[in-house]
């Protein structure tokens, strides 16, 4: 299926995700951030999840190692945080919130008529995709060599 300019809908959605992630890091953390080919280990992973409901039903996950999450939290807050500081989880949740919201805002007006939940954050690394959603994308990103993952799963 092709969208604007002969670009596939999947490519458009991934480009919107890349743009949303980049904007969040540029504007809120003052860091450049772009996609990379990488794998994120599942151990000691912090995962934040936002759910979409409405014209789009699905979820957005942001996941990172404890170390990368802490670096991102410090960049967002402008202060040093401790290893198990609850602010680290809070920061990952807010990053997920802004990325999901930014991605949603870049959709067409009919698709963007959906609500997003407050973020849910876990440290157990088991919070995964729901199987019922038809489309999913996984993407890794890096800021200053620190890699984290973003995943989208939805039906529209």
């Amino acid at each position: 299926m092709l969208g604007n300019g002969g670009v596939s809908v999947s490519e458009e959605r991934i480009a919107r995700l890349d743009s949303a992630v980049s904007e969040v890091f540029e504007m809120m953390l003052d860091r450049s951030c772009g996609p990379v080919d990488a794998e994120i280990g599942i151990h000691e992973r912090i995962t934040a999840r936002i759910q979409f409901s409405g014209a789009i039903t699905g979820e957005c996950l942001v996941y990172a190692s404890q170390t990368v999450a802490q670096i991102a939290a410090e960049a967002l807050l402008g202060t040093v945080s401790e290893t198990c500081d609850p602010m680290v989880e809070d920061a990952v949740g807010e990053l997920c919130n802004m990325i999901a919201g930014g991605w949603k805002s870049k959709l067409g007006s009919s698709e963007a008529v959906c609500l997003i939940s407050v973020p849910a954050v876990t440290r157990d690394g088991t919070l995964g995709f729901r199987d019922e959603f038809g489309t999913s994308y996984h993407r890794c990103y890096s800021f200053q060599g620190n890699v984290f993952g973003v995943a989208l799963a939805f039906q529209s």
Partner: protein, 129 residues
């Protein structure tokens, strides 16, 4: 001046406070609430204060009572009348913006945001207020 920041994220409350200070606001006290209900309680308690709250910044998407419900309840209770309210939220679609403005919000900023955007939207409201 005193301000009230409403957001369910403690991280975002800190980020917003920093942006307000970077905008040049001399904040003597920043009250914090993690949802609309806590914010209403703070405003009820602050009634009659010698140094009242002069700015309210609120998220929309929060548990217990969201930012739009807070705006409508504040208007109905006539709390902090005349105090500018700026929404800072990931919800940028037109229905949310229109409902927020109808319920009394004077400013609307979408996350992610820059300190310059906060300065440009908030300072004019305080000069008028």
């Amino acid at each position: 001046m005193r301000a009230l920041i409403i957001d369910d994220s403690a991280v975002m409350r800190k980020v917003i406070e920093r942006a307000l200070r970077q905008a040049g606001l001399e904040l003597t006290e920043v009250l914090q609430a993690s949802n609309g209900e806590e914010a209403l309680q703070a405003l009820r308690s602050d009634g009659g204060s010698a140094s009242p709250i002069r700015l309210i910044v609120s998220d929309i998407n929060m548990p217990v009572m969201d930012g739009l419900q807070f705006l409508e309840a504040r208007r109905d209770e006539k709390l902090a009348e005349g105090v500018p309210v700026v929404m800072i939220t990931t919800e940028g679609s037109e229905p949310f913006v229109l409902r927020a403005i109808a319920a009394g919000a004077q400013g609307y900023i979408c996350k992610p945001f820059t300190a310059d955007q906060v300065k440009a939207r908030v300072l004019p409201l305080l000069q008028v207020a």
